[in-house]
Amino acid sequence: MRLLMCSPDYYGIEYEINPWMNRGRPADARLAREQWNRLHRFLREELAAEVETIAPAPGLPDMVFTANAGLAWNGKFIVSNFRPEVRRGEAAHYEAWFSDHGFDIVRLPEECYFEGEGDLLKCGDTWFAGYHTRSDILSHQKVAEIIEQEILSLELTNDWFYHLDTCFCPLSFGQAMFYPPAFDSYARKVLENHIPDLIPVSAQEAARFACNAVVVGSKIAMNDGCLKLRKKLESAGFTLLETPLGEFIKAGGSAKCLVLNIG
């Protein structure tokens, strides 16, 4: 698996665009760097992923969360249209990187907000997409046409879980973890209809970003402090690799937010 990351050189809580962010509670730059390095090493060494990096850009503190860059699929890169204005500057950097790496760049109409893998995850043969808080449902239709795949839109109803990857994590074919209160009743029904083995995550563990995990085969990298879930996942045959990511949770992100799957 190839992943894309962006080092946290310019990371910090410089604005507030989700309920986790509080400029009065800044991130510790040195600690954030250590946590990022440790995840980077974990992914390469423990999860055996191939990790590429994109150069960070000054003034774009959230560029570290590469999951929101867009969607890389079959040689195409659908670049994100960020809803928060403060993140829109990231798109040009991602576009340039993917273009340089041989991807065909696809842009969505300006009026369609789309925040990449943050709101679009594949479980088995089906893509699930979150909408309402950040991405628009109309962007899902456009992306579905581009990638020629089925995308099921799920309404996110809790501002604390503003991206799909904060409350839903595909584990394997027909298996995923999710935090039920983050979804409306129709979305929960859709998940139940399509994913036979749904592992619910408690409120405490959801707040530890348990669903914001990187899964490679049977290995899962996530933030620390999710004891109950560890037992559940281990009994389901997974190996849980915990790594502290508290400095990034201050910005509303964790392991999965820090990586983008590039095939």
Partner: protein, 414 residues
């Protein structure tokens, strides 16, 4: 009823987005009808639905549209275009190619919202005031220089009637004219529609010709007036003249209504009647002075029923109440039909067609005449909602009056 057509596309079935949008429409208090749905065959194929949304008010419609838009349901593009407006260069002249109205409920798209055109009337223009976001039907002669008038058909939508009239109400409404229809059923249906109109505080308009007096049907119309089934009466000089002739002399066109014989010099009666009312000043004054003591217009005055008498070129007299300037009469009739909900036209061609031209298609309209051509003419001129009944007006009104008379109904049932 305010309406919009929306479309929704994508993987709307498996994602339950379509049922969610439909549930939302209902939860918010509006109604929907799926006009078209195409389900994708393969998993990657997208599905598509076109849905009509009806709401009781424009505000509710806007609220519903805003809410379902969040779930990907958008007004179809053709609907989102605004009307083209051009100013009238001079009083009484519309811009070229102005939109000519139908009598159907009509909406125009102005400043990204649909507004209902007030005073739906056929063969008019639509004047829009973008400041107040109001639109109204205006006849050519009433337009003023600088009025912004809708040109072309873009951004205009009309509602077909069949979607608005509930099936169970006025089931027999049709413009088919036949002398072979089962009249009893139709008349009962008309009586029920009139009762319902009054229960809902709707106004009933009667348009009548002098044949009503000649055939001795006046007393049934008086009965309807006394029972509050008539709120406004349109007629010409003739109806009033012969009604008053009967009140004063017991004849109609010189024929005794109770003796089936001509009065000696009876042809003078109606002229003397005209003269007497002219001397009194008006029909109302003639009633108040005790000159007129019975009849249709006596009851109208006593019950406070509004009447408009429009003149024509062949009128004798005319009576002082008759408006001889046809445009003035038309304008007054236009103003008076605004809140009419039911129109009953009997034994008149001229006034039936004149009134039909002014009525919105939402007004239930019944046309009764011994001559089938009258109903045909009325419907051919655009009053397609009119239900025709080919019969002599006296038996019609007698039977209608019976249906509307609770005492007689009770006797019948006993």
């Amino acid at each position: 009823m305010p309406r919009s057509i929306i479309q929704i596309a994508g993987h709307i079935i498996d994602s339950l987005i379509l049922p969610k949008v439909l549930d939302l429409i209902i939860k918010l208090g509006a109604e929907f009808e799926i006009l078209d749905i195409q389900i994708g065959h393969r998993r990657a194929d997208r599905s598509y639905a076109r849905i009509q949304v009806d709401a009781a008010t424009q505000e509710l419609l806007e609220r519903v549209l805003a809410k379902i838009k969040e779930h990907g349901a958008l007004p179809v593009e053709a609907e989102a275009e605004s009307v083209e407006l051009q100013p009238a260069a001079t009083d009484g002249i519309f811009p070229d190619h102005f939109y000519a109205t139908t009598n159907l409920p009509t909406w125009v798209r102005v400043k990204e919202q649909w507004i209902e055109v007030e005073g739906a009337e056929m063969d008019c223009g639509i004047r829009v005031d973008p400041e107040t976001t109001r639109a109204e039907c205006v006849p050519i002669h009433r337009s003023k220089q600088g009025d912004l008038v809708v040109v072309g058909h873009r951004g205009v939508k009309i509602l077909p009637m069949e979607r608005r009239v509930p099936r169970e109400a006025f089931e027999f409404m049709s413009s088919s004219v036949s002398t072979e229809q089962p009249k009893g059923l139709l008349i009962r249906e008309i009586a029920e529609a009139m009762k319902k109109t009054r229960e809902e505080n709707g106004r009933i308009l009667v348009v009548a010709g002098p044949g009503l007096v000649h055939t001795g049907a006046s007393r049934h119309l008086v009965d309807l007036i006394e029972r509050d089934y008539v709120q406004i009466l349109f007629a010409g000089n003739g109806l009033a003249v012969h009604d008053i002739e009967t009140a004063l002399y017991g004849t109609s066109l010189g024929v005794y209504l109770d003796k089936t014989m001509r009065a000696s010099e009876g042809h003078e009666h109606h002229l003397w009647a005209i003269n007497a009312v002219r001397k009194a000043g008006s029909i109302r004054q003639a009633v108040e002075q005790g000159l007129i003591r019975r009849g249709i217009f006596y009851s109208c005055v006593k019950k406070g029923v509004d009447f408009v008498l429009a003149g024509s070129i062949r009128d004798d007299g005319p009576l002082p109440d008759v408006i001889t300037d046809t445009l003035k009469a038309q304008d007054l009739m236009r103003d008076k039909v605004r809140d009419v909900r039911f129109a009953l036209m009997m034994a008149t061609t001229l006034h039936a067609i004149a009134t039909g031209n002014l009525l919105p298609a939402t007004v239930k309209t019944v046309c009764v005449d011994i001559n089938p051509a009258v109903v045909t003419k009325l419907t051919d001129r655009g009053t397609f909602q009119a239900m025709g009944l080919v019969t002599d007006v006296e038996p019609f009104l007698r039977e209608l009056s019976q249906y509307l008379n609770p005492a007689e109904n009770a006797t019948e049932q006993a």
